[in-house]
């Protein structure tokens, strides 16, 4: 006679199975320290409901590794949600096996219960500027929409708790490549960086990044986050350049780097 497994036996069995799965998963290098990134959170009472920025494709980046994922660059504004998920809007660059760098507009999403997604839409060229936004669909919604060049967008529903944002930010990043002149770089330009809240039923992009309650940045491995301008006094984080190429002096010092507020995933 075979006895049915007890709950304890099931728990032990599931733990063993999970341990086998975890140990078999490849844990590779990740991107968050290969970025020029900044994030803000707003004062209590300001329910963060959106982020926007004017992005310019400053240059075609130098990329050493070919492959759509392997050597790619993300340039985007993003929103981190309380659940630990992220949604971003901006553009994406990668180098093909012939050595040609391709640039597309992009929305980005990171779901803790699913995947990391880069959604590309249309080819972009150096010099193009556009406004990228991530915003809540309504003041009580857990759905958020990322909009990028030409109005290409992605509308994503997250968890129950995600009816407001946690952190708004801008980032230029790659998976695992240290800056090397003419080999790997991240030229980028972000301007008019703002956050939004709901005011009388309408979404209002009413604060600049510089009007934050708390700020964190990250620029390591040779990358630079240059502080260019402020539209509300100081500090000059409403207009930033990423580099090197054009921007080589980082306002974000290594001493205050903290990648915890970069867009989640990768």
């Amino acid at each position: 006679m075979i006895n049915k497994p007890t709950n304890t036996t099931k728990l032990i069995f599931s733990t063993i199975i999970a341990a086998v799965i975890i140990s078999s998963m490849p844990v590779s290098a990740h991107a968050s320290v290969y970025s020029a990134q900044q994030g803000v959170t707003m004062a209590s009472g300001y329910n963060l409901a959106g982020v926007s920025g004017s992005l310019t494709v400053k240059d075609s980046p130098f990329i050493s590794a070919s492959g759509v994922i392997t050597g790619h660059r993300d340039y985007m504004v993003y929103m981190n949600l309380p659940s630990g998920d992220s949604l971003g809007a901006g553009y994406f660059a990668y180098k093909d096996t012939s050595g040609v760098v391709h640039i597309y507009d992009m929305t980005y999403d990171y779901f803790g219960s699913s995947n990391v997604g880069h959604n590309l839409y249309r080819t972009m060229t150096v010099g193009q500027s556009f406004t990228a936004t991530v915003q809540q669909d309504s003041s009580t919604s857990n759905s958020w929409t990322a909009s990028t060049y030409f109005g290409d967008f992605n509308d994503v529903a997250y968890g129950s708790i995600d009816t407001r944002g946690a952190i708004a930010g801008s980032t230029a990043r790659n998976l695992a490549y240290t800056y090397a002149s003419g080999v790997d770089d991240m030229p980028g330009y972000f301007d008019v960086l703002k956050t939004a809240e709901w005011v009388s039923g309408s979404l209002s992009f009413d604060k600049y990044f510089s009007q934050n309650a708390q700020y964190k940045c990250n620029a390591l491995n040779g990358y630079a986050l240059a502080y260019l301008a402020s539209y509300s006094g100081t500090p000059k984080i409403d207009n930033v350049g990423t580099g090197p190429r054009d921007y080589t002096v980082s306002g974000c010092s290594i001493a205050n780097s903290n990648s915890a507020w970069d867009a989640f995933g990768e």
Binding site: I22, S32, G67, N212, Y215, A260, G265
Partner: protein, 206 residues
Amino acid sequence: MSMNKKFILLAPVIVLALASTIFLTTTMASKNDQVSATSNACLPTTLDSVTFKYPIKQPVMDPILTGYKLQAVDQNAADVFLWYSDHPLCQVHGLPDELYRGSILVIAAYNPNMGDSATEAQKELNNLKGSTAKLQMIDVNGYKGIGWEPFQGADVVKLNGTVLDSKPIPMPGRVEFFNDHDKTWYSVSGMRSMNELLQIALTIPK
């Protein structure tokens, strides 16, 4: 005294003056460029500086994960991240990177509009029903929630909906529940089995 001897005597003075000038210039430029509100120290290791609607309730890690303790607290306007590890965490790497290093993340998020626990958990299950993870309903000391095992996810790049490239990536497990008494959502995440994460969650006081 010859010119050469004069130069040898003055050389240290010139070098010192140049070094001082460079140091002062660099320091001042750096200070002007930096943002005063930036945190330039390690994250706090206690909840002393945290302002939250209700006292945040912490798990007891020992003996489930021996040697683990609260190593970093990171608060923003919407939630509080509590990082537990068996090694010091001055500055936390991003998510999920820090979990790949063995850390456990507990998130506490206050939601004044939270309904009763069972309704919220069912809503969460519906919200996340398209997930790659296999979602399971859980009960944490009477509060309902959902959880999932760590799983093999993917980094996917699509061009107008067609997959251009995909790379497998490990995704952390999680248990989350709705404390409708405090109107606080708690989640416990890590590269650990759901059972271990649930055991940790069960130590969070009711």
